[in-house]
């Protein structure tokens, strides 16, 4: 079963991260790299990507009888922004939740867990085999 683990945070979260010390930041980055390596080794990682910040976002909306309208920036009502995601192929939802729990415990300021919420959603399930 495949799950997408989405790491989203409020804008304050990004700003707050910018005030971490270099050592804290380094520890966080190294944790995340090791975390991805472990998922490769366990044979569960399908894809992992970090996204550019929300500032460069474009929103495209089709218009009847004309070219689509393109606006700069994320949806104005958006409170949280997707920072990155993992897609994992696992035995069970419980395992996907376990992995998400590890990601959420990544070290932050002073090594304390960041506790960033991770959204876990199933993706791309094949139709059930008829028996």
């Amino acid at each position: 079963m495949k799950y997408m683990l989405m790491m989203a945070g409020p804008r304050q979260g990004w700003d707050e991260m910018a005030t971490w010390s270099a050592d804290d930041l380094k520890a966080h980055i190294q944790f995340m790299a090791r975390f991805s390596e472990n998922l490769v080794e366990s044979g569960e990682l399908v894809d992992a990507q970090g996204l550019a910040g929300p500032e460069g976002t474009k929103i495209v909306k089709a218009q009847p009888g004309g070219p689509p309208v393109v606006t700069d920036g994320p949806f104005p009502e958006t409170k949280e922004f997707l920072a990155g995601f993992w897609i994992v192929d696992v035995e069970s939802e419980a395992r996907a939740i376990e992995i998400a729990g590890q990601a959420s415990a990544a070290p932050g300021r002073g090594g304390a867990p960041v506790q960033i919420p991770i959204e876990v959603r199933q993706v791309g399930e094949a139709p059930a085999v008829e028996t």
């Binding site: 971490w20 980055i29 790299a33 970090g50 550019a52 910040g53 929300p54």
Partner: protein, 411 residues
């Protein structure tokens, strides 16, 4: 012979075999598929049965047989469909006799010009070049560009269709287009190198295979066209840049900028080869942008430490480069050189001229470079703010990390 040796041999022979088959049958598209099949057959058979006496002849024979089968079934299909005419002359349905393809005849270059045809988008030309000239499998190319294999297969197949419908013929370009066509070839090789060296997306900073492949192809073109200064210039640029690869990341995988790199990790053999090539080339013919960029790389590589870098010479080279290929990225690099020669404020003033440039909107490079120059000027708050902003603008994770850390270190 081991699997790796067989693979190296096959990849060297790939464009020669394709050239011979495409020339004989006059059908580049199908010939390319047939050569891929012949290569796969060789990969399966040779490690066990041994490499045939004439590997090139073997591949041409097998690929030609596939072509003949393909043309026969095409013809049968057409007959079933009651189509009268067949576009293929009867003798083209037979495999060529071994003596018909002269061994010294090498069409690799014609194949390369075909793959880098200006009707193709750069992404298509890159994919087709890696398969037809580089002898990589579709799966290998797909994994190098982090796209699914069927997507890459479709990209290659569409590229060949595009060449077919453009009416391009399997011949070397005439004198008139030669310069333009060679420029397209060099541009494609340059893009392959860059893709491997900077890995525009994803986690990995280097995708070594693409870098090595670009250098191998540039070497091939240089061997065939030794008198072309820009070919030599591009090869030298690649060698002089790749020489710094080991120093570009630290033991934890973090990016290390040029001034902080441990120069003892630079590959001296590549530097010597690159500078020798460049010295031999400069002054022997017209100078072009690749030779100038190689000269800039050489100045960096020859400095024993960052402080000993000959910035006035680099500045002069960027000024010359900007006359050849004006563009905001060249101006940005020139601004760094100006800062090193005339002080950071002078560099910042030049960067300021890029602010209104639409091509630089959303470019993290401009913001990151401004951060760097502000830091040199002692404006720590301004520098920190720029690094943080730039970190959020790039989609490259290694660059995000580098910029965020750089900001954090300013305290």
């Amino acid at each position: 012979m081991t699997g790796t040796c067989v693979e190296d041999l096959l990849r060297e022979l790939a464009p020669q075999v394709l050239g011979a088959v495409a020339r004989h049958f006059g059908d580049f598209d199908s010939a390319e598929d047939a050569v891929q099949e012949a290569m796969l057959a060789a990969t399966r058979q040779w490690p066990g049965s041994g490499v045939p006496d004439s590997p090139r002849g073997w591949l041409i024979r097998v690929a030609s047989r596939r072509m003949t089968d393909h043309l026969r079934s095409e013809q049968a299909r057409r007959q079933r469909e009651m189509t009268v005419a067949t576009a293929t002359p009867p003798d083209a349905r037979l495999a060529p006799a071994p003596d018909e393809v002269t061994p010294q005849e090498d069409d690799s270059l014609t194949v390369l010009f075909m793959c880098c045809h200006p009707v193709l988008t750069p992404a298509s030309a890159i994919a087709l070049t890696l398969r037809a000239v580089g002898g990589l499998t579709t799966a290998e190319i797909a994994s190098a560009f982090l796209v699914p294999e069927p997507t890459m297969a479709q990209r290659i197949s569409r590229a060949k269709q595009r060449i077919k419908t453009s009416g391009a013929r399997f011949t070397m370009p005439g004198e008139q287009d030669r310069a333009d066509r060679l420029a397209s070839v060099l541009h494609v090789l340059y893009l392959i190198f860059n893709e491997g060296y900077t890995a525009s997306s994803g986690d990995a900073l280097h995708r070594t295979d693409l870098t090595a492949e670009a250098i191998r192809l540039a070497r091939m073109v240089h061997t065939m066209l030794p008198g072309e200064g820009e070919v030599a210039g591009l090869l030298a640029l690649m060698l002089l840049t790749d020489a710094r690869r080991a120093a570009r990341t630290d033991e934890n995988g973090f990016l290390v900028p040029l001034p902080d790199q441990r120069r003892e990790l630079w590959n001296q053999a590549l530097i010597t080869e690159g500078t020798t090539l460049l010295t031999r080339t400069l002054g022997s013919g017209p100078v072009g942008p690749y030779q100038i960029q190689a000269a800039i790389a050489a100045v960096h590589d020859e400095a024993a430490s960052a402080d000993e870098t000959d910035w006035p010479q680099i500045l002069a080279l960027y000024e010359t480069l900007e006359q050849f290929t004006p563009g905001p990225m060249i101006t940005l690099n020139r601004a760094v050189a100006v800062a090193m020669v005339h002080g950071p404020r002078a560099g910042l003033a030049l960067l300021g001229t890029l602010d209104g440039d639409e091509r630089m909107t959303n470019s993290h490079r401009l913001t990151a470079t401004r951060g760097h120059l502000l830091e040199l000027a002692g404006d720590i708050d301004g520098a920190r703010e720029c690094y943080q902003r730039a970190a959020r603008m790039t989609a490259s994770r290694p660059e995000q990390h580098y910029l965020a850390l750089r900001a954090a270190r300013l305290g």
